[in-house]
């Protein structure tokens, strides 16, 4: 989540769901919260009953729109133009919260004189290399001060999968990299915000063209509707009032997804809505522990706690830590976090003498995300694959490519409750039906191992608000069902037994690993508490540590994930705390445990003014108690407890000590909220509107059509639709978007298999407007076939005015809506929407674009077998794309 991380310092929701009740205005964009997070939506309803404005900006009229005070339409894929319009409105109408912006954001910082905007360069920023399609970020930095991003591309380009920077540093750049903040301030800044190269003025210039007229042209939102949103949001923000944003994957699944979130961050910083009750940005995540699986990452570029994975050029821990450790802010303590992790993993073996076992760690050399892995399978380089509670045969874009990739493996292990499509592709996939794959020719050896469910094991989930909640085992798993804890622990033990005595250097990393957890019961289930305790960490005395502040870089502490340190404070599983909500304050600090240090709202120092007093009594939350000389309030202060508001760092101060008493964003290199991101993101310092990879609409704002540094994998099996103006562009004339239904869950593995849910939503369908239905002869309740250059799928037709038609540049533009839960197996079956998409991803996080693309629609069911291939080939021919045999 580098959108939030690059703006504020941490990749997590800035607030918590219950705090929505305090908002004066809530903007929900990129989310259908009432249907997809229905129980969390009760807090939006609480706010509305207290008089709050609830605005839903969405391409469809959904139940969220029905419960909002206002629904405003927006074409899928155009949200940055809309949010940029709000930034423009704030800046031209003088609506920003001036004291907040001056004190808590980087508005006053002066940027390198080489910086050029998309305004100057027709849609690209300075540093763009058209040969490699990469940016050199040097010109986005502060003048004479080089800062590291707190998230995203912290370790240089190869971590982001980009080519190496080759240009040698100039003496001035070299000096800038060594330079420190001066008493908490950058070397050049203008507190009056007038300097033409200060962030505030650059921001103004960048968004000058995002006028209400432009918003209407790009988004199809009527100007009056747009203006009412901007007015309402501004009227409900400031010293006395606060507004919140809620978003979900409607924002993240784009080739500029990270910049969508950045755009909201800029709006919220300008309006003074971060770190204050009723404010914030709430990321609504779709899986029980999706936040947890990022914090303790099953992700290629991270180690636990957002520590970066080492790269090939990090020959020892010194080079790794020198590259990753920031001069100022909490990332200044990176050696403590990293060395404690190595102590947790390698115990006694990790010492200064062994370079903390740094040599055992594997190195990354580029993008190793799921899409390059799939390409590796197709080439035969990736031979073994574990699929663990995920279903790429239905859930991944251009799913056919993923199924073919799995058909080219040596071995595949699927762990799931059910025989999902990713386990059965070798005999019942669409490719078997069309004859592109034949069972007897598929070499893949498949192991399907049944998994225990959450009622059959103990452990913690981290929910959407960074809250760890323990679930206790209710019953024993049946048959061969086992937890992942059991499977990985025993697999690891078995591998270690087999490698025991090996003389191979590579096997030391496995054999020296601390891998001895207590087990319990007849099944030898590892004790999940013991694992959580290792995640929390311990000191020399063996006692559980209370906080990450206690971690040391000398090997005297062990900690599996520094941001979770404190979850086993006082030897108690804090995630299992269950003091009823009704028996404590509305913040409910004694229910579960939130990272970091049980802080429920991040950056909450910003709820007080620079002098430490609440901005307003109505919105008081955390403040400076001058008598006791400490921060106090409703929540755990997200600030050094005794750092006074008038603290000025001494010369040469390091890490957190280098940030002054008025810098609430304590992971950032300058302690400020970043309106301009000088580092961390590879595609833009300010969000700019780009069209989706596949869009029937040209970019009205710039000559550069789509994100110039998006990642593409052109191949015969992953062909891209022609762009507007190219031959064949009219073959896929409609905009298409995808979404979830209340009764189903993602790729359907946990809902198409459940009788009640299958009965409630029994069939795949598409939503189309009456105009589109008339244009293509579609009948309500009948069948439609939706076609892309990858395949064609069929769906029942729902003709509804809930999907509006957009007028873009004077042209009527139809939108097709598709729920994406179906696949070939389960109690209810249907074609998979993900089969339609092409793989094209955001360059920061490698997330695919599956919320906005182009397609064609025809009446009737799709053809079967070879006739389906023929139909798609006919489209490919007309679009000028290579046909498939």
């Amino acid at each position: 989540m580098p959108g939030l991380g690059a703006s504020f310092g941490r990749g997590g929701a800035t607030t918590f769901q219950q705090d929505l009740q305090n908002a004066d205005c809530i903007v929900i964009m990129g989310s259908n919260m009432a249907e997809n997070h229905p129980v969390g939506f009760q807090w939006v309803m609480e706010a509305r009953e207290r008089g709050a404005q609830v605005i839903h900006v969405d391409p469809r009229f959904t139940r969220t729109s029905a419960m909002a005070t206002r629904h405003v339409i927006i074409r899928p894929g155009s949200d940055i133009a809309f949010l940029g319009g709000i930034v423009n409105y704030i800046l031209t109408q003088g609506k920003w919260f001036d004291e907040y912006v001056k004190a808590y954001t980087n508005a006053s910082a002066i940027i390198d004189e080489r910086f050029r905007d998309t305004d100057d360069l027709d849609g690209v920023f300075s540093g763009f290399d058209a040969k490699t399609d990469n940016y050199d970020l040097a010109s986005w930095q502060y003048e004479d001060l080089s800062l590291k991003g707190a998230a995203g591309r912290r370790m240089g380009p190869s971590a982001a999968g980009l080519k190496e920077e080759t240009h040698p540093l100039s003496p001035r750049e070299e000096a800038a990299q060594k330079r420190l903040l001066e008493h908490g301030k950058p070397p050049h800044y203008d507190p009056t915000l007038q300097h033409p190269r200060c962030v505030f003025q650059l921001l103004k210039k960048h968004y000058a063209r995002y006028t209400p007229e432009m918003v209407e042209r790009v988004c199809g939102t009527p100007q009056a509707d747009f203006l009412r949103v901007a007015e309402t949001l501004c009227a409900n923000s400031g010293r006395e009032r606060t507004s919140a944003f809620c978003y979900s994957v409607g924002w993240t699944q784009h080739t500029v997804g990270v910049q969508y979130i950045r755009a909201a961050a800029i709006v919220q910083l300008l309006l003074g809505n971060i770190g204050r009750p009723g404010g914030g940005i709430l990321a609504l995540r779709g899986h029980a522990s999706i936040q947890g699986s990022t914090d303790i990452p099953t992700l290629y570029e991270l180690l636990p706690g957002y520590l970066p994975m080492p790269q090939a050029e990090h020959v020892d821990s010194k080079t790794y830590l020198e590259k990753g450790t920031a001069k100022h802010g909490l990332w200044g303590q990176m050696p403590s976090y990293f060395i404690s992790l190595m102590k947790a993993w390698y115990g006694e073996k990790a010492s200064a003498a062994s370079d903390w076992c740094f040599g055992y760690l594997p190195r990354i050399t580029g993008n190793h995300s799921t899409f390059p892995s799939i390409m590796g399978m197709l080439l035969g380089n990736v031979k073994g694959f574990f699929v663990v509670g995920e279903n790429p045969a239905v859930g991944s874009p251009n799913s056919s490519l993923h199924r073919r990739a799995m058909a080219n493996l040596d071995w595949l292990v699927v762990r799931d409750f059910f025989e999902i499509e990713s386990a059965s592709f070798w005999y019942d996939s669409p490719e078997i039906e069309t004859g592109k794959l034949r069972t007897q020719e598929i070499k893949t050896e498949v192991f399907l191992l049944p998994a225990a469910d959450h009622l059959q094991k103990s452990g913690s989930f981290t929910n959407t608000q960074r809250l760890l909640q323990w679930h206790h085992k209710a019953v024993e798993p049946e048959g061969d069902c086992r937890s992942e804890l059991w499977f990985y622990y025993h697999l690891g033990k078995r591998i270690r037994e087999k490698l025991n005595g090996s003389a191979e250097a590579r096997d030391r990393a496995v054999l020296d690993l601390t891998w001895d957890y207590p087990t319990e019961g007849a099944l030898d289930e590892p004790d999940a508490h013991a694992v959580l305790r290792e995640i929390n960490g311990w000191g020399m005395d063996g006692k559980a540590l209370p906080s990450y502040l206690k971690l040391k870089p000398d090997g005297s502490t062990a900690c599996g994930c520094w941001i979770y340190c404190g979850v086993f404070k006082e030897e108690q599983n804090q995630a299992a705390r269950r003091k009823p909500g009704g028996e404590q304050s509305w913040v409910a600090p004694e229910w579960g445990w939130a990272w970091p240090s049980n802080r429920r709202m991040l950056y909450n120092r910003a709820s007080a003014d620079p002098s430490g007093k609440p901005w307003s009594e109505r919105r008081r939350y955390v403040w400076w108690d001058a008598e006791k000389k400490k921060w106090t309030g409703e929540d755990v202060p997200d600030f050094t407890e005794d750092k006074s508001p008038d603290y000025v760092p001494p010369e040469g101060a390091h890490a957190d000590d280098a940030l002054d008493g008025q810098s609430p964003f304590i992971l950032q290199g300058d302690g400020k909220g970043w309106l301009l991101a000088p580092d961390g993101l590879v595609d833009a310092p300010f969000p700019a509107h780009y069209e989706p990879e596949e869009s029937p609409i040209p970019n009205a704002l710039y000559g550069t059509r789509a994100n110039p540094v998006r990642e593409r994998w052109p191949s015969a099996n992953n062909p891209y639709h022609p762009a507007p103006g190219e031959p064949g562009a009219g073959v896929f004339p409609y905009v298409v978007t995808s979404y979830r239904l209340t009764e189903h869950h993602t790729a359907g593995g946990m809902s198409r298999t459940v009788a009640h849910l299958s009965e409630l939503q029994p069939e795949m369908f598409c939503e189309v407007s009456p105009e589109l239905a008339a244009e293509r002869g579609l009948e309500n309740g009948g069948w439609a076939t939706i076609v892309s250059a990858r395949t064609a799928i069929e769906a029942r037709v729902l003709v509804t005015e809930r999907i509006p038609d957009y007028v873009i540049e004077g042209r009527q533009t139809h939108v097709v809506g598709l729920p994406y839960h179906w696949g070939s197996r389960g109690l209810t079956t249907g074609d998979s929407v993900n089969d339609l998409w092409v793989i094209s991803t955001d360059p920061n996080v490698h997330i695919q674009e599956s919320k906005a693309a182009s397609c064609d629609v025809r009446a009737g069911r799709r053809p079967r077998g070879k006739e389906l291939t023929a139909l798609v080939n006919d489209y490919r021919r007309r679009a000028g794309l290579p046909v498939e045999e």
Binding site: P304, E441, P450, A509
Partner: protein, 189 residues
């Protein structure tokens, strides 16, 4: 209500007219329904859990009787969900007991056209062998500049967002020690 019904068995209409105007209590009750008890009342234990679907994190109470989960309800103590569950959360027991649930290891040999049975311990052993062999076959110790790599690109893993933190931790720890770097989950999808 039940006691009342037992003491004065009368025709339902009479009961409605005299004591239960809206027919929501005694008037709608038979001797059989009077003797029914909710599963929540007869459970042996109540276990605190958390909904496994989306990331709202609703509190759940699992009611257990004779080693079986007999009911899953919203936990009214949760300050996040206040006792509520959505249709998916309410169907949690049906998820756990779905007729499609797999209880035995299934194994498909290369080029085979059907599943076979396989002992779980044998499966773990075979998987361990394959990890070791693929890792050895595809090991990269250094790049062409002589910088260390210590890894295999021959193995990949996908999944984690539906799992517990402790499980993700063991996965990442083991994979990293094995040199498996292609570790990914739903956060990108």
């Amino acid at each position: 209500m039940r006691a009342d019904d037992e003491r004065s068995p009368a025709w339902p209409l009479l009961r409605q007219l005299t004591r239960d105007r809206y027919a929501l209590g005694a008037a709608a009750q038979s001797r059989k329904t009077a003797s029914l008890e909710p599963r929540t009342a007869t459970a042996d234990t109540i276990v605190r859990s958390v909904c496994p679907y989306c990331a709202v994190g609703c509190g759940q109470l699992a009611f257990v009787k004779d080693g079986k989960v007999v009911q899953v309800e919203g936990d009214p103590d949760s300050p996040v969900s206040r006792g509520r569950l959505c249709p998916k959360g309410s169907a949690t027991r049906s998820l756990s007991e779905s007729p499609l649930r797999e209880y035995k290891v299934k194994y498909r040999r290369p080029y085979a056209n059907a599943w076979e049975e396989l002992d779980l311990d044998k499966a773990v052993d075979m998987i361990a062998d394959r990890v070791i062999a693929t890792r050895a076959q595809t090991w990269e110790s250094a790049n062409d500049k002589g910088q260390p790599l210590n890894r295999t690109l021959g193995i990949a893993s996908l999944g984690g967002a539906t799992l517990d933190n402790e499980e993700n931790y063991l996965m990442k720890k083991l994979y990293t020690a094995l040199g498996v770097v292609q570790v990914e989950n739903q956060a990108r999808i």
